[in-house]
Amino acid sequence: MNKQAQAEKMSFNTMWQKYGTLGIFVLLVVVLTILKPESILNLQSIPQILNQSSVNILLALGEFFAILIAGIDLSVGSIAALVGMIVAKMMVAGIPVMLALFLGVIFGGVFGFMNGFLVNKTGLHPFIITLGTQAIFRGVTLIISNARSVFGFPVEFITFISSRVLGIPVAVIIAVVVAIILAFFTKKTKVGRNIYALGGNKEAAWYSGVNVKLHTLLVFIISGICSSIAGIVLIGRVGAAEPAAATGFETYAIAASIIGGTSFFGGKGKISGVFVGGLIIGIINYGMTVLTVPSSYQQIVMGSLIIISVTIDRFVATKK
């Protein structure tokens, strides 16, 4: 195949699509290395950055699917918080850890199902539906927790979530495994292919036999499951389930997906890109912390990055 040979002649468009995300990542690492070499050139910092990014990456992986079908899921943070709270309550009540974690993931799928079901039944844009469920899930979290944090997890859970394999934190391994499964799902399964078709052109996909409603439902279930895993990782890392956990994290998830090269117009994007997108969010947060930039400035940088990425994406899309 001479595909590679022909791809040699690259325009800015293809360059951006292929390496844009990675380029931003490398740029950030370089900038940080120059500004504060000791912050990044040591063995401790890299696992730390990865560890801090894992929740964002997990949320972004779910968000990716919602954006891929030209939708959005604003409820990822709320689902993470709610599932985290449910799992915490179950563990504290004495339910075996593994069963509690398993049920937590099931709950995440059910919450995602509710999003997808409402989108299908009402025909409203996912923005509206998940804007509503975001508040609902958060409200339920507050009710079941009495607006109080839950502590005192079983030791085996704490040791599991904070353990390391070959120096790599378990949270990172979970994020990587989920990413690998989803990469396989998007690249190798028919249902994954159908989701891309649905995102590219809903009508044409319908005429080609794609069951639009079923696939929409699946997308939100996947998003819900990813959010639930993120929620579990989060309570493990913090050591407590907080009712206000993961507030505003949907912004980071959306940012990671888009900076990771997912088209906001649907149908285009890759899991690997989203993973790197999540790392970029992580490194920005880490970098600003070590550079002692106030968190309000971090928000400004994050917001600017979203706008710049989407602008370039749009520019690339319309130029084609």
Partner: protein, 514 residues
Amino acid sequence: METLVQMKNVTKEFPGVKALDEISFNIQAGEVHVLLGENGAGKSTLMKILSGVYEPTSGQIVLKGKEFSKLTPKEAQENGISIIYQELSVINEISIQENLFVGKIPTINKLRIPVVDYKYMEKKANEVLSKVGLSRTAQTFVEDISISEKQQVEIAKALVADADVIVMDEPTTSLTSSETEHLFKIIRQLKAEGKGIVYISHKMKEIKEIGDRVTVLKDGTYVGTKRVDEVTEDDLVKMMVGREIKGTYHHPTLTDFSREKVIFEVKNISRKDCRVNDVSFRLHQGEILGFAGLVGSGRSELMNAIFGAEPKSSGEIYLDGHKIDIQSPYQAIKHGLAMVTENRRETGFLNNFDIKQNMSIVSYIKNTMFQGITGLVKNKWELENAGKYTQNLKVKCRDIHQNITELSGGNQQKVILGKWLAANSQIIIFDEPTKGIDVGSKSEIYVLMRELAQEGKGVLVVSSELPELLSVCDTIAVFREGEINGIFGVNEATEELIVKSSTGQIKQRGEKNE
């Protein structure tokens, strides 16, 4: 009589096509001038030049004694031209009076700040609304009124704009007969006030009833202008279709299919929106069945209902004598149906997929256990499949990894065909298969259709190009207002006969071969 508009030798060329060739046309005060011609004859193009949407390649337009070589929409409006398109352009979300004044909201100065002059708006609105006989308050939201009332709002809008010339593009397509009567009353009143009306329609009866003069266009050329009371309906049909059939098409076999096996049958299909009413037809082995009719007569709607893309309220479908249930395209595909849709861009190809992915999606979905979601993609098969069909169908492309949006219309259509052939489809519905396609690809598609029929596959063709149907099909069903008005064998069918049948001048109901 005063001449309001004069269009002189207007020519319009689009890349590769001459849409209008030296057309002259004038509109006088107090007349209804009918513009007649088949689909694609150039009526709409001519009117879009008059309203400033298109810029003519050459020619002049004289409005109120001023000569223009081209018009902007604003100039057209300022010089008294108003167009009411078939797809009404009223805005549903605002009130009738706001619709009437869109773009020219009257203002009044209060404390030196210009604010909307609602008093004047309402007064003027009530005045024009009573003129067009619309008994609604000016504050009614447009989404709450019927289609015929929306049309009256459009006419009222033209009156607010002080139009001298009002163009109506097939205004009665979605009106009932009493609503049509009411519309004619308004038109007569406008005539009496000295307005010039351009009336675009296919309906012969209407033309005789309301028209004063008629100008016929055909393939972008001028055929003639006559006084309506001096011509018969037959004369008009002859003027419309009297064209030579170009000799590049392949002639169908003229065999009698009634003895052949029925491979596909549709019984009493209706839709809730009444765009298809109780339609039945049979397709025999080896036969290509065409569907003629005016745009909007319900042919595509029927095909979409058969294919499960849009809901049907009743009706049965039989494949090889077995009743099949189709509620979605997925089910249709599972039963071996295929549909090459009219709008490639909207419903045909996936713009984010390359050629090989476009060619494999239907096969993947067809070969699954449940709703297209089980199973894995097979990269090797995908490459072979795309290689095979790009070669067989002579798709001109760099390679099969090329994005489909980079291909020409004809090649995109071939890729779409490839995806259906790859899925081994047995009944293939072609909806306007050669729309916007170059001549070379066209004849290749015709040859392919014949080959498919000879292989024993069912071929259904919807087309608005009569020469295409006459040269490709063995049998032609003519649609009129959601029903089959006649079925003709190709040996008895002529353009004249089909036009007469599709405009309701002749009636031949019921199925053939019975």
